[in-house]
């Protein structure tokens, strides 16, 4: 287990890990200068029973969840991310849409982290990032696409796609927030 993850886990259990982007449940919860970011992360093939072995106290919250590490500055993640790299992360349940708060400014997805084992040992998988999310001032809600990671049984990433599933996302968005707020499409794109 890297020091960053050991600390994150310990701090998370103590309730003092750096805050993720908060999930949004209602339009009223989004203030001026804020945007609801809508997206999804998929693993292909999906996690199978037994591939994630989370047995430590409090580690159940990491089940089937990937952390997307983000920053408003384009940069490379260190091989062993520090606690500060987890600030503003998106905690995404694999295969489900996320709806999270963000400042209405562009940001970068630096990479992803998935806990594979916690308890009798500790290990995690890293996923590539290098994607830009093009939020603009005045955006109330933006759909950024499905980030689809293809992988093998060793969790080697063989392909990364950004897929447009706007129709399904917008239907879920409308059901959750009503039809009064448009969902602008701005798919995450390679940060060149």
């Amino acid at each position: 287990m890297t020091r960053g993850f050991a600390l994150l886990l310990a701090l998370a259990l103590a309730g003092c890990a750096p805050a993720p982007r908060a999930p949004v449940d209602s339009e009223q919860a989004v203030g001026s200068g804020e945007t609801i970011v809508v997206g999804r992360v998929e693993l292909v093939p999906p996690l199978r029973k037994g591939e994630q072995r989370l047995r430590g106290i409090g580690t159940g919250t990491y089940e089937n969840r990937i952390f997307l590490l983000t920053d408003e500055r384009k940069r490379a993640l260190p091989p062993e991310p520090a606690i500060s790299d987890f600030a503003g992360r998106i905690e995404a349940t694999l295969g489900s849409h996320f709806f999270v708060h963000s400042r209405s400014t562009p940001f970068y997805i630096l990479g992803g982290v998935l806990f594979l084992e916690a308890g009798s040992g500790m290990s995690r998988a890293h996923f590539p990032g290098g994607l830009r999310v093009a939020l603009k001032p005045g955006d109330r809600a933006v759909y950024i696409g499905t980030l689809r990671y293809h992988r093998d049984e060793f969790f080697e990433i063989t392909r990364v796609d950004v897929v447009d599933e706007y129709g399904a996302a917008n239907a879920e968005f409308t059901k959750k927030f009503g039809s009064g707020m448009p969902l602008r499409k701005a798919l995450m794109a390679s940060a060149k």
């Binding site: 594979l116 040992g121 998988a125």
Partner: protein
């Protein structure tokens, strides 16, 4: 080269409880078995190796850890059914330094093998390299691929195993050795 984690002390014993369990009740002569083996030179490590655990990564399994025989850095098991496997951990102990577990990352195909047909699979020979860490940081190590001992030299050593002698593996190993020469 990769950085891998090391857990010293009594904690290792607790973490290992119930992890590895030899051949999972399989017969040594089961025709679906594969022999998987490798070697780690631990001369720069805090301890020698006296146990190794292989993780079955596919298909997922309720008992994914397979124990191995270990002799002077050589580790091997001849019970593995078709699937994908990866070296999960080594363990060792010394009177002065206590018990250690050397954990390998779950992600990546290094020290891994994909078995589609029963056979003999060599994970490689490696050398332990210590990594300096901070006072409050856990221990770390690197493991580097080395050319020696060779696959043939290690198979020759496996032939000395009493269990192998007279089993289906003895002839298979000899055949493999003849192809390697």
């Amino acid at each position: 080269m990769q950085r891998i984690w090391l857990i010293p002390g009594l904690l290792a014993l607790g973490l290992l409880a119930g992890c590895a369990s030899g051949g999972h009740g399989r017969s040594i002569n089961d025709p679906s078995n594969s022999l998987v083996f490798g070697y780690v030179d631990m001369s720069d490590a805090p301890t020698k190796v006296n146990g190794a655990s292989i993780l079955q990564v596919a298909p997922p399994n309720d008992k994914p850890y397979w124990g191995t025989d270990v002799r002077d850095g050589l580790f091997y098991t001849y019970y593995l059914p078709p699937g994908s496997y990866k070296l999960a951990s080594l363990r060792g102990s010394s009177f002065w330094k206590g018990d250690y577990r050397y954990s390998f990352p779950r992600q990546g195909a290094d020290q891994g093998v994909r078995i589609t047909e029963p056979g003999i699979y060599f994970l490689g020979s490696y050398k332990y390299k210590d990594v300096k860490t901070g006072m409050f940081e856990g221990g770390k190590f690197n493991i580097e691929r080395v050319d020696s001992p060779t696959e043939a030299e290690l198979l020759q050593r496996i032939l000395d195993d009493k269990e192998i002698k007279g089993s289906a593996w003895e002839e298979k190993i000899r055949q493999r050795l003849s192809r390697l020469k």
